[in-house]
């Protein structure tokens, strides 16, 4: 019995730190009763803030998100459907809208496709080899993130515009880059370049080169090693990068706006068309296109969550 009474105070102390854990499983019932009331009485959980403060912080976060994220999203859909469902679909069926959707898909396909290849190559070079200027390359990859998109667009105007660096030569050979698809694709590629490389570099660095070395020592060629070992190991990270890259490519406004020239039915992407229609007071049409972009964002978010879960699992597998 003396042992029990010795135990009791220390158990009570522990309670304060771990109120949910039942530490008394092995002790006799009468002692439990001694401890229980105390637990119930200790309203304060010392591990965290008091309840009112917690509620306040959560409420603030929720209100902020509602006002700045959820409400605008609701407004987009509400305005798009303000004249009914048929008006909504009629707006989307306009030739101008269809052309914008097509152009957006085309530019996204080109820039995501190329960035996928460039991104994998850059990430491969950075994570698997040591070379002079590696830090510089890593910094360079981040450049598009730190430059305003408008500047990114202007760069291409300066390069390919009529008074630009390559302008006269391009004109002489009748090649159209600015105010045409190539210029818009270039601007989009520039702006979205970091996504794939950024998603892959930490992943590939963490995985190291051992599996590749194993594959090569087993007689695999470079290509076999890439397609059978490297690619399967980075596939979720790659999809993650491609997804974010695609979302940005379809939604890019600034850089594309500078190089597009806003030629109706020709060089307007969806974000550009949204602005034009809005300025012309065609609210339903404008918000209908905007709703498509909003849906793209929602789908991106959902897929992103799934991919992040996959990536975490992949990381767990790599633990020894």
């Amino acid at each position: 019995m003396s042992l029990q009474s010795n135990l009791a105070p220390s158990t009570t102390q522990l309670r304060a730190y771990a109120p949910t854990a039942d530490l008394n499983v092995a002790s006799p019932p009468q002692q439990r009763q001694k401890v229980r009331p105390h637990t119930a009485a200790s309203k304060r959980d010392l591990r965290t803030e008091p309840r009112p403060i917690r509620s306040l912080i959560v409420a603030l976060a929720l209100i902020f998100l509602t006002v700045f994220v959820v409400l605008p999203l609701v407004v987009v859909f509400a305005s798009a459907f303000s004249r009914g469902v048929s008006a909504y679909f009629a707006a989307l069926a306009e030739p101008e809208a269809l052309s914008a959707i097509q152009l957006t898909l085309l530019i996204a396909a080109i820039s995501v496709g190329l960035n996928l290849v460039f991104g994998v190559i850059a990430a491969w070079a950075i994570s698997k080899f040591d070379f002079a200027g590696k830090t510089f390359l890593i910094t360079l990859i981040d450049l598009p993130f730190s430059v305003s998109p408008v500047i990114s667009g202007l760069v291409f105007v300066l390069l390919f515009g009529a008074q630009g660096f390559f302008g006269p030569w391009l004109q002489a050979h009748n090649i159209h880059i600015l105010f045409a698809v190539p210029g818009m694709a270039l601007a989009t590629i520039f702006v979205t370049f970091p996504f794939v490389a950024r998603a892959l570099i930490p992943l590939m660095q963490e995985q190291g080169t051992q599996e590749e070395e194993a594959a090569i020592s087993l007689g695999a060629s470079g290509l076999q090693t890439f397609f059978r070992v490297t690619l399967p190991n980075i596939k979720w990270g790659l999809l993650y990068g491609v997804l974010l890259c695609n979302a940005r490519a379809m939604g890019e406004f600034g850089a594309v706006s500078v190089v597009s020239g806003h030629i109706r039915n020709e060089t307007n992407t969806m974000p550009l068309l949204v602005e034009i229609l809005y300025n012309e007071y065609q609210f339903v049409a404008s918000f209908a296109i905007a709703s498509l972009l909003a849906m793209l964002a929602l789908i991106t978010l959902i897929v992103k969550t799934i991919l992040e879960r996959r990536l975490d699992e992949g990381q767990m597998v790599s633990d020894d």
Binding site: Q210, E213, L218, A220, D319
Partner: protein, 349 residues
């Protein structure tokens, strides 16, 4: 298959990982590269495998130049310290990998591949795991799968980098014996790298002791243990008592007092006396070269390990000796010590 390494030099920046290393490995040998970390043993193994290239030197496998060929053309089985199993493939596909990537002309058909993989999994006694993924295996199982994968390509030689380094002590012991018997069964020329002297002495036919990018000694486990060529080898393999002595006129002096041992041709000057813990003969006070007070005794198994404070050292020099338990030592007892077997090396070694 024989391996010959001649005058290999490998530098990482200013650091010489391998400094003019030469080595011959005979057909069917099981050779251990033993050394502390940074001794260059893994670098040497990687150079033989073709995963690293030296600045100078030659490597031949079975008389053929190996440095002119990439790792994928050398037909060398390599087992990595951290297994490097393909994490997205099942155990079966891991083992089958080397067979599936063969050029179409010599690739086996699916049925033959399946049969070969099954044989290998039987060989490493893990056929029941063939549908699992590497993350679902224990460390010892992963290591055996890595070995089966390396053997799938019927390698000319087998190289193992710290094969048991990441395993716990018990599994390690089991796998050591298993590797030995496997080597007897398949008899492929093998080199394994280890920093664990016990592992090297127990498993290998011959041991190569390395330090700071150089080979210190090559010999059978018995030779490197009983006749260490250098002070480093004596200190690295087995537990040694090291005492600073002075050699002059064929006499060995410790702290100015002559010891009853012969210099055995050791060069005059400041030297180090190496004695194995169990090679100290214990006698009554006043009966030997060295004298000391027993400070503490621990007994386990067949031996007692005693800490002895040497006399004339102002209590500074404490050595540990191993003695059989037929003569119980007491703390505080004064005893004499006489080296039964010993080696003297120049102090700067």
């Amino acid at each position: 298959m024989t391996i010959e390494v001649r005058n290999i030099v490998k530098k990482f920046g200013d650091f010489a990982a391998l400094d003019n290393v030469s080595l011959k490995v005979g057909d069917g040998e099981l050779l251990a590269l033993l050394g502390p970390s940074g001794s260059g043993k893994t670098t040497l193994l990687r150079i033989i495998a073709g995963l690293d290239w030296p600045e100078a030197g030659e490597v031949t496998i079975d008389g053929e130049d190996a440095l002119g060929r990439g790792a994928s053309e050398r037909h060398v089985g390599f087992v990595f310290q951290h297994y490097a199993l393909f994490r997205h493939m099942t155990v079966f596909e891991n083992v089958a990998f080397g067979l599936r990537v063969q050029p179409r002309a010599i690739r086996k058909d699916e049925k033959a591949i399946r049969a070969r993989v099954k044989d290998l999994l039987d060989l490493v006694q893990l056929d029941w795991l063939s549908d699992r993924y590497p993350s679902q295996l224990s460390g010892g199982q992963r290591q055996r799968i890595a070995l089966a994968r390396a053997l799938a390509i019927e390698p000319r030689i087998l190289l193992l980098d710290e094969p048991f380094g990441a395993l716990d002590a018990k599994v390690r012991k089991e796998l050591r014996q298993w590797l030995r018997s496997l080597h007897q069964e398949i008899h492929v020329t093998s080199i394994f790298v280890t920093h664990d002297q016990e592992e090297a002495l127990e498993v290998a036919n011959r041991v190569v002791v390395m330090d700071k990018g150089r080979i210190e000694q090559i010999g059978t486990p018995g030779e490197v243990y009983d006749n260490p060529a250098t002070a480093f080898v004596h200190g690295f393999i087995g537990e040694s008592i090291v005492l600073p002595v002075d050699v002059s006129d064929g006499a060995v002096r410790l702290g100015g007092r002559p010891l009853n041992i012969a210099a055995n041709g050791a060069a005059p000057g400041a030297s180090k006396l190496f004695v194995r813990r169990h090679d100290m003969q214990i006698g009554p006070a006043g009966g030997g070269s060295l004298e000391g007070a027993v400070r503490r005794v621990r007994s386990f198994g067949p031996i007692q390990r005693a800490e002895v404070t040497l006399a004339d050292s102002e209590g500074k020099t404490v050595i540990e000796i191993d003695a059989p338990r037929d003569r119980e030592l007491q703390a505080g007892e004064i005893i004499s010590l006489e080296p039964r077997r010993y080696r003297i090396f120049a102090a700067h070694d």
